[in-house]
């Protein structure tokens, strides 16, 4: 079906080429080099415009070192301008310098570059009149076809999550398994209250453009409600100014929601500095000087993770860490009492609040995970018995 269309197209273009008068072609030397054939020029599909794709078939036999020269003629002058040369055997070229809406003609011809003794490339040894395409103009498109797979996956994912949220809203009970790191939050704050020392919460060092920070700030809201309830002091040092702004709103409203606005102080959420290690030095120093009883390291951390966690460990604080990205998890696991691993970070606010909407979306994530596991198992079986390789359908571009 598709190939039939192709053949028709090629036929059309062949016919067009026969009749297309060479537009102001350069002087024609003896045509000792065979010409490429079946030149087709099309707007590059699925892009934002500005690109035309050329395809052609190389002539059957070409001497070594032969290249295909690509030319372009732009109205109104319609003079051939050389665009580029590609090695024989390429068969395709994308002109990314096209102006949208301009009807270009493209030409290809064989050329043999000869180097003179100095090594500089001299005039092409032989040039013949190019094979010419139909006029073509580039434009922007409505859909990126090569991303169909991730488009479909995204749509399915949205349906699953929103559907599960809907189910949860309708009152269906949703179970959630025990996550020890989250159970420990109240224990840690309780201990801080007993010994009369403060709780330190570090929401990572990334800005609010990172979803782990957003998740961490949501957990901070719950921690702040606990400290408000217990009347324990809270300290939230920040590296990113937007995270700082958000964290302060969150802590303020948590104290308000618990009916303890009197306990909220602006200094609870404070800004330190924008540099990763200056922040680390300042916060580590604060840990050793003020010895908080509980330290939360939840969010997106980088190398500072171990400096902070090991310093905190040496002060004897209960430490609860959490990160979705795997790189710093080894250090948290080695130095903290509890660590939220990967997806547990995102499950935290659902776990702590037990809100149906959040629980519903956790359920949706599990369904999506189940589907992915199923796809993976089916894929592994099919590819192992040499029936079909599903992986290309999942590779994204």
């Amino acid at each position: 079906m598709k190939s039939a269309g192709c053949i028709t197209l090629i036929g059309l273009f062949l016919a067009a080429n026969v009749f297309a008068a060479p537009i102001d072609a350069p002087a024609t030397p003896p045509p000792d080099l065979p010409l490429p054939q079946n030149l087709i020029a099309k707007d590059k599909p699925g892009d934002s415009g500005g690109a035309v794709v050329l395809r052609w078939t190389d002539p059957a036999s070409l001497p070594a070192g032969a290249e295909i020269e690509v030319l372009r003629a732009e109205p109104p002058a319609n003079e051939w301008q050389p665009l580029d040369k590609v090695p024989a055997g390429t068969g395709t070229y994308t002109d990314t310098s096209a102006k949208d809406g301009t009807a270009y003609r493209y030409g290809v011809r064989t050329s043999l570059a000869a180097a003179d003794s100095a090594g500089a490339v001299s005039v092409a040894a032989s040039t013949s009149a190019p094979v010419v395409s139909e006029p073509v103009s580039s434009h922007d498109n409505w859909f990126k076809i090569e991303r169909t797979n991730s488009f479909v996956a995204s749509i399915l994912f949205v349906i699953i999550i929103l559907g599960s949220i809907q189910v949860a809203r309708s009152g269906k009970e949703i179970f959630i398994r025990r996550i020890p790191g989250l159970n420990a939050i109240d224990e840690a704050i309780g201990r801080a209250t007993e010994v009369g020392k403060k709780v330190m919460y570090i929401p990572g060092i990334q800005s609010m453009d990172e979803i782990q920070t957003v998740a961490s700030v949501a957990i901070l809201g719950n921690v702040a409600r606990s400290t408000a309830r217990y009347g324990t002091d809270l300290d939230v040092p920040n590296k990113d100014p937007l995270t700082f702004a958000s964290a302060r709103e969150v802590v303020r409203s948590a104290y308000l929601a618990e009916g303890r606005p009197d306990l909220f102080r602006e200094e609870m959420v404070n800004y330190v500095t924008y540099d990763q290690f200056a922040f680390t030095a300042a916060v580590s120093a604060r840990m050793t000087r003020e010895k908080p009883a509980a330290i939360f390291l939840i969010g997106y951390f980088f190398a500072e993770s171990l400096i902070l966690a090991e310093t905190g460990q040496s002060t004897g604080a209960i430490q609860i860490a959490g990160q979705a990205d795997p790189t710093q998890l080894p250090f948290f696991v080695a130095t903290c009492d509890y660590t939220l691993i990967g997806e547990e970070l995102y499950a935290a606010s659902a776990y702590l609040t037990r809100e149906p909407v959040l629980l519903g979306s956790i359920r949706g994530q599990d369904i999506a995970k189940g589907i992915l596991i199923l796809i993976a198992i089916i894929g592994v079986v099919l590819v192992s018995i040499h029936v079909l390789d599903l992986s290309p359908f999942l590779r994204t571009q």
Binding site: V158, I211, P241, A278, D325, G342, Y346, V357, G364
Partner: protein, 266 residues
């Protein structure tokens, strides 16, 4: 001159609508949180649509997505001042109250004013923050090279020490899980560097076998990193990706709005 639809739509959505929203919000407290969340839905949809719709007004070079990138870099730049204001407030307060350690607040403020001043000077005079026209370093660059960078690298280097102390304390065979952790760490540490060769230095007869054992350990390390470690990493990444995407969806749709200091739900 072509008309660019992208920026115009952006201005409508993220300037005109907010301004109207602010005026409406002055009299109607309910709208103070509702309109920002509606506006945010559009902000969240732009990059998602741009991923799949290559139409110029959306994802072209002057399209909405591209322009948003340009915009938000500026917004983030503005945000820094928010932090600076807080640092100034807190430290001036400490100095004024002569809190314990107020001297160090003075040190901090001097560092801030001198370096910040040099930076502002460079940016305002267009000399820049690198080199003077005659090739000599600007004061800003001098401070960067001899104050800022050495401290940055040294604090980072503390990690070498903390790796060792954390390993000593954490890697003990307390239970099955801890033992697995310990063994994996030990194997990889041996496989990453020519430890066996180092140990064989005093025994010439063992050199060859130490080298081949080291090679084998290298292979094993690579396998551990590749297969079991790669598998666990993949598992974490897939799970976290789903968790993040679901959270992203909740944030974009305004279901999760805690980051604005707003309660859940309406």
């Amino acid at each position: 001159m072509t008309f660019n639809l992208g920026p115009v739509v952006l201005v409508l959505l993220f300037a005109v609508v907010p301004i109207i929203g602010i005026f409406l919000g002055l009299n109607s407290p309910g709208l103070r949180s509702r309109i920002p969340i509606w506006v945010a839905v559009f902000a969240g949809l732009i990059p998602i649509l741009a991923m799949y719709i290559p139409k110029g007004f959306l994802s072209g070079q002057t399209g909405m997505s591209q322009r948003m990138d340009d915009w938000l870099i500026i917004l983030a730049g503005f945000a820094l001042l928010l932090g600076i204001v807080n640092v100034l407030q807190n430290n001036f307060k400490k100095v004024a109250r002569r809190d314990s350690g107020w001297f160090y607040s003075v040190v901090l403020l001097i560092g801030l004013f001198v370096t910040g001043g040099a930076g502002i000077y460079g940016a305002v005079t267009k000399i820049g923050i690198g080199f003077n026209p005659d090739g000599s370093p600007t004061p800003f660059k001098y401070l960067t090279d001899w104050f800022f960078q050495p401290l940055q690298s040294t604090i980072f280097a503390l990690l070498a020490f903390f790796m060792a102390s954390a390993a000593f304390r954490a890697f003990r065979a307390r239970n099955v899980e801890a033992t697995i952790l310990l063994v994996a760490a030990g194997l990889v540490m041996v496989g990453r560097v020519p430890i066996l060769e180092l140990l064989a230095v005093p025994f010439p007869s063992l050199h060859a076998s130490a080298a081949s054992a080291s090679q084998a350990m290298g292979k094993l390390t690579e396998w551990i990193m590749d297969v079991p470690n790669g598998a666990a990493q993949s598992g974490i990444i897939i799970g976290a990706a789903l968790g993040a995407a679901s959270m992203a969806l909740r944030v974009i749709l305004g279901i999760e709005r805690g980051y604005l200091g707003l309660g859940k739900g309406e």
